[in-house]
Every structure is written in structure tokens, then in C-alpha cells.
Point group: C2
Chain length 428, copies 2
């Protein structure tokens, strides 16, 4: 569950500010829940994903786990961020040291160094590929898929490598779907009415998560609960909508940057996923809150000075995790040269929680508004719940800002230039 606290906002936002956004919120809610435009398939995805698709995902994950030392996930943007965010959320940044089937993400850049290194690492390994692309036409993804398909074919032969390639793509159209049909690769569905950045609760996220050992039903359970929870138009009863309202109020008061920060490093990629979700949904028509992310307390030792005393163009949204299952204690030391004995018997998690309180106070004192989101744990249920929370608050936020939160016309500009420079044939 996500709980939003406004404790650190009292200096900055009044009851009146919140009430003045009620009309905008109501309009946004009905815009979101109407059938006017596409891209809203994620709204009911936690309930609509078929049990057949889920069985296919789990069965494929089982096969990958038993046949492969490495799963290579090829995808960019929304085709990898959610999966990676989820795996790190549930495991850690170093998840691969603890997985039997290691999961590497590639095809999310044009770095030859990255490809070279992964090819080298996979030389003596058994490998499967999950390529994730709605169209199959994204150049980073298509180039990497060609290279690693060739790698598999050299290793296993064309026939056998077919069993090691899993395509997550549009169910009926696009180059990747075509190739999968011709070659006989197993396919998984990106629902046509779900955009990349809203797709993590489809096979896009669930297949890699399942390979990492996650209970995908629990993820969907959490998301379903969030889906059923966040429908009230009363701001005080709907933390999801409240988050949208608060950030729009702060934006209207001149805060141009939002820093999403967590006190757990395993949320690092969730913050990256959030940046795409909000940045790509809101950043249009010369508007939008610039999304940035930090991991505390680490980054208090790099950006802390700026946050305390620098140009106050930003506000913070802080995610803390309530439960600490690890209970690492500060050990006793009779010499006490480091003078830490006053902490003996305290857990590191407790110290972390005090660091949060101390920092929220210090930053609020320095006129930086803090929105506080608390989740209970870093398990599957919380992951699904949090994902849905952010997706819905993002859509509502975008509508309140007056933009279409489901398109991304701006990303085509550099692609057009690039294809021209690369001499891509006209009919491609």
C-alpha cells in the first residue's frame, strides 16, 4: 500500500490550494475514464490480462530457468525500464549475483562496448533471448536482436535457437510479429491500447520478472487492489489523486523540477521508470515538471548541499519503506574509537528512518516542499500497487496540466534526422 503524508507541506500548500484543484481533478478523472482516445488499456490491465497469457509467461519462465544461464532482454524505454525496476525492487541492484539465470538488458543503447562485453560474457553460457518491441522497428532493439540472434544461431544452429527466442510484441502487426510468425518464435502480447511506458504489467514486465523468480500473481494482486482503491473524487480520500494535485499545485507555484528520492538503493530503477512515465507523459507543449531522481542517504552526500542551500526550483517526493526484515544491528566495540557505541542495539534500518525524519525537517526548514510516500515492503504486492499508483497519478496529472498523457510526438524528431543521416530507404 502507498500512504501519502502531507506533514512536510503545511508551509507550502493550503487547504484552499487543494480545493481550488477539485474541478480540474474531476474533469481529469472523467477524461481518463472516457473512451475518447487510445492508450488507456493499462487502466484495467491488472484485471484484463488473461489467465492463458499468465500461464504462458510462467511456463516460458520455467523453460528459460531450466535451459539458460543467461536471459538477454532486448528492449529500450518502456520495453525494459519496468522489468528492470521490478527485478531490482524485489531483489537488489546486484540481483544477478544471486540468480541462477542471470538477466541482462541490452538493445537499450547504441554502445558497441556494451554489446561486445555481453557477447564475451555469454561465450561459454547457455542463453535465451526475450526481445520486447511493439513494432520491431526501434533501431537500438532491432540491431541488438540481429547480433544476438546471430550469436544464438552460431551456438545452437538455426533450428534449436528458435526455442530460445521469446518475442513480446503487438499481437497482430509490426516487423517483430511478422518475424516471429515466420521463424516460429513464441510470442507474448503488448496490448495495442497500452503504450510502452504503461506496459510493465503486461508480458513486457511480467516475463523477465517471472524469470527472476517473482510471483507475478501477487504483482497483479497489488495492482488490482490499487485499481479498485483509487477512484474516489474526494482528494482527501484518494492518495493517488492527491499526489497528482499536490505536484500540480507546486508546479503552479514555480517549482519546475521534481526530485523523486528513495532511502533504499533497490528502488533506483523504479525511479528511472518513473522518470520516463512522468517525463514522457507531461513533457510537451513547453510544459511539464522536469523529473529527476536521487537515492538517499547516498546522494545527500552529493546533492544535499544543493538541496539545502541551492537554487530552490524543485520539490521532493520521498519514498520510504516501512518494514526492515534484515535487522542488521550496530555491533558493540569496547574500544569505541569511532564513538558509535551510543548506537549499539539499534538497527541500520532504524538509523535510516531517523535520517529520513532529519532530512525532511532540514529541507522543509530550507523552504523545500516534501511529499512523503510510504510503502510497507519491497515485495510483489507492493510493487504492483506502487506501479499502478504512479501510472494513474501520472495520467491524472497530465490531464490536469492540459496535455495528452498517452502520446509522445516529440521523440520522433531525432529519429527522423537519424534515419536520414543513416540513409534508410524510403519504404522502410
Amino acid at each position: 500500500m502507498v500512504k501519502l503524508s502531507t506533514r512536510y507541506l503545511e508551509k507550502f500548500i493550503t487547504e484552499k490550494d487543494i480545493n481550488s484543484f477539485q474541478k480540474k481533478l474531476t474533469t481529469a478523472h472523467f477524461e481518463l475514464h472516457s473512451n475518447d482516445i487510445g492508450g488507456k488499456g493499462w487502466l484495467n490491465l491488472p484485471a484484463n490480462i488473461s489467465s492463458e497469457e499468465l500461464l504462458k509467461i510462467k511456463s516460458a519462465a520455467q523453460r528459460i530457468n531450466s535451459s539458460s544461464d543467461v536471459l538477454i532482454v532486448i528492449g529500450i524505454g518502456g520495453s525494459y525500464l519496468g522489468a528492470r525496476a521490478g527485478i531490482e525492487f524485489l531483489r537488489s541492484l546486484n540481483y544477478n549475483y544471486f540468480l541462477k539465470t542471470k538477466i541482462f538488458f541490452i538493445g537499450n543503447s547504441l554502445s558497441s562496448a556494451d554489446i561486445f562485453e555481453l557477447l564475451k560474457f555469454c561465450e561459454s553460457k547457455d542463453v535465451s533471448i526475450n526481445v520486447v518491441s511493439k513494432s520491431g522497428g526501434t533501431i537500438e532493439c532491432a540491431v541488438a536482436f540481429r547480433i544476438f540472434r546471430r550469436f544464438l544461431e552460431k551456438k545452437y544452429g538455426k533450428e534449436k535457437s528458435r526455442e530460445r527466442i521469446y518475442c513480446t510484441t503487438d499481437p497482430t502487426k509490426g516487423l517483430l510479429k511478422k518475424m516471429a510468425c515466420e521463424e516460429g518464435y513464441e510470442t507474448f502480447e503488448i496490448p495495442p491500447d497500452v503504450g510502452g511506458r504503461y506496459s510493465v504489467l503486461s508480458a513486457v514486465g511480467l516475463l523477465p520478472l517471472s524469470v527472476a523468480g517473482a510471483d507475478v500473481n501477487e504483482i497483479l494482486h497489488g495492482a488490482s487492489d490499487a485499481m479498485n482503491t483509487f477512484n474516489s473524487l474526494e482528494i482527501s480520500k484518494n492518495d493517488c489523486y492527491k499526489y497528482s494535485v499536490l505536484r500540480n499545485i507546486l508546479y503552479s507555484k514555480g517549482k519546475a523540477v521534481e526530485i523523486l528520492a528513495s532511502y533504499e538503493s533497490r528502488l533506483k530503477y523504479l525511479l528511472e521508470w518513473w522518470k520516463q512515465l512522468f517525463g514522457e507523459s507531461e513533457g510537451k507543449c513547453k510544459k511539464g515538471i522536469f523529473p529527476s531522481s536521487l537515492v538517499f542517504t547516498s546522494d545527500l552526500h552529493s546533492m544535499g548541499q544543493f538541496m539545502q542551500d541551492g537554487n530552490p526550483i524543485f520539490f521532493e517526493t520521498i519514498i520510504t519503506v516501512l518494514n526492515d526484515p534484515y535487522k542488521i544491528l550496530v555491533p558493540h566495540d569496547s574500544l569505541n574509537v569511532d564513538k558509535l557505541n551510543y548506537l549499539v542495539g539499534k538497527t541500520v534500518g532504524y538509523i535510516n528512518s531517523q535520517a529520513f525524519l532529519a532530512t525532511a525537517d532540514a529541507h522543509t526548514y530550507a523552504e523545500v516542499p516534501n511529499i512523503h510516500l510510504q510503502i510497507d515492503d519491497t515485495n510483489e504486492y507492493e510493487l504492483g500497487y506502487l506501479i499502478y499508483f504512479f501510472q494513474k497519478s501520472c495520467a491524472i496529472s497530465g490531464y490536469m496540466l492540459g496535455v495528452n498523457p498517452f502520446d509522445q510526438p516529440g521523440v520522433e524528431a531525432y529519429k527522423r534526422n537519424m534515419f536520414k543521416l543513416l540513409g534508410r530507404p524510403e519504404d522502410t
Copy 2:
């Protein structure tokens, strides 16, 4: 070498703008090179670090490599960012898969999950520790050091674990220096007149880098060359100072955020290091450019929309790497279902270079100023050169902004609150 190009700035910055900053630059230069305040020891560090200290670093690295499967570097902020940035720059984000002695960074957060995981990973491994802290009083670092010292002592006994602990700290004072003297740990020097964020070219960075197999002499060679190069007061002849001037001009024209972006993922932590360097140096007196970072082309698929069409409060500084030693070719495919055959015979590095040109054009067209920095390679020489380039441009930039680029008074605020909440004794 770093080459700065203003090709993408012509629409935004005139010759007149640049000339109008000449006086400020001259003042900043003489302020930096005067002996008025402390914290300037990094200016001559590439020449001043003693050959004795370098020999000690290399010898310790050799011992660590031959005795340990894992080196745990305990430090936060400037005590780990530069080392990690350097290792990833020279190797990759996945460097640990290719190192005999794996290097993990801890003590840079209060996450019990991170500590629990590393303890578990190290159970059956031979381990050494490099603890990096000027004072020894930083809580994240001190807590982790206590826990991992205890871990070593349980594994090897108190006596033998002494040979596995290396302290990088102030040469004469502080809790860590005291403990090292009492316990007989080997120590390395953080020069007293070098602040954390400027310390990577001391043992702070060089010891972990040496363990990772880096040629530290070449790093210092690159830094020395930069040190000797960037002294001219003629902006047109000094790319380091030009970078300071350009970003201050853009700031004065309302650009409140700088996005440092690279087209190579291995620069990811160098961008993190840069954020601390600039954020902590400039973010004071309610001033400063908010530093943010992205890795392209990855993040063009998350933040690309915002950069093209969103709230234009930012400018970009783009780092590209000229040489591509990997020469990964797009393979031929007779079926060509993915329609990539027009790229056959092209390297991925070439496509990456075209993506840069295409994006710089698209963003410039969308009124986003781009500063372009090009380095030749990702080797030791270039690393040292680039580090010094940024350090000096940061100091000059801070002086031009009218702040002291070597202090960080704001980071104490949350610490004071925290120690109060934790009940730290007054005399600590």
C-alpha cells in the same frame, strides 16, 4: 583530451555574450590561483602526489589482488563516487564480472538490505577492506566499517584481519587515523587541503582504481597534461574555462538545469561524480545550476520527449567518445524482415555517432542549447584529463557565480537533526 565544440550554440550565445564574461573569468582565475582560502590542494595534486605514496598504492593493490576475491570500499560522496566512476569509465558498469578481485562499494547508504546482501555474498570469499573517510565520523561509513570489520575479525581473527584493512584518511587527525594507528592498519593520505569531491586523484580514487587494474600513472599523466593546458585567460584558447563561461551564460539566460549526457553507458558514474562536483560546489546562496544526468540513446526513450517539447528550463552538455575499438558490425540477413540490411557493414559505433548528430540537431531546433565535449577514448589518460577538466571548470564556474566552490555548509543541517534524533552524546 577534451575538445569543446560550440557548433550547437550559435543560436543561443553570441561572441558578445562570451566577451562580456571575460572580466569575471579573469577575476575567477586569479581568485582560484591565489592562496586566500583552503581546499585548493587538488590544483597541483597530479604533480604533487609523492612517488612514495604511488608505490604504496600499487603495492597494496597487488597484495589485495593476490589475497582477496573481494575488495569492499567503504565511503560515501567524494569518498567513493570518483573511484567508482573511474572503474566504470575504464571497464564498464558490469566490471565485476571481469575482475578477479571484485570491488563493491558500501557504507554509502543506510540501507540494511545492501549490507545484508554484501555480507551474504562475502561469506565464502576472501575479503579486504578499503575504508575512505577524511574524519572517520561520517555515520554511513563508520557503521559499515564496524560491521565489516567485525565480519573480517570473525573470519580471520583480529590479528590477521589487520592486514586486510586499508585506511584512506587525513594524514594526522580524525577518528579513522586514530583507529588506524592503534590497530596498525596501513594508511593512505587524503591531503588536508583537498575536499572530498576534488579527491579522486589522491589515494581515494587511485587505490580502488589500481585494484581494478588501472594504470594510475597514466591517469595522473592525463591530469597533469590538463593541469598544464588550461591556464590561458583567452576564452577561445581554453576549453576548460570556455565550458565554465558558456554554462554561466546559459544560466544567466534562464537555463536553471544542466543535463550532462553521454552516449556511452560506462560514463554513467562519471556523470554521478560530476553531479556532486558541480552541485555541491555551486548550490549555495539560493544559486546554482541544478545538475542532472542522462545516458543516451537509452534515455532518449524516456526523457527524449521532455527534452524535445517540454518545459525548456535546461541546457545539455553532451560527452561523446571518438574512438570505437570494438567495431561491432551489423550482420547481413538474407530475409531482412527487420529491414536493417541498409546498415550492413556499418558499425554500431557509427550508428551511435549518427544518433548524436541527429539528436543535437533535433534538440537545437527545439531551442535547447547543446555544449559538445568530445574525448578520444575511455582509457586512463583520458580519464585523468577529463577529471581535471571538470574540476577546474567547476572551480572557475563557482567563482564566476559568486560562491565559494570549496565549502559545503548546507550538508550539516540534516546531520545535526539526525544526531539529535539518534541521541548522540554531546562530546562526540
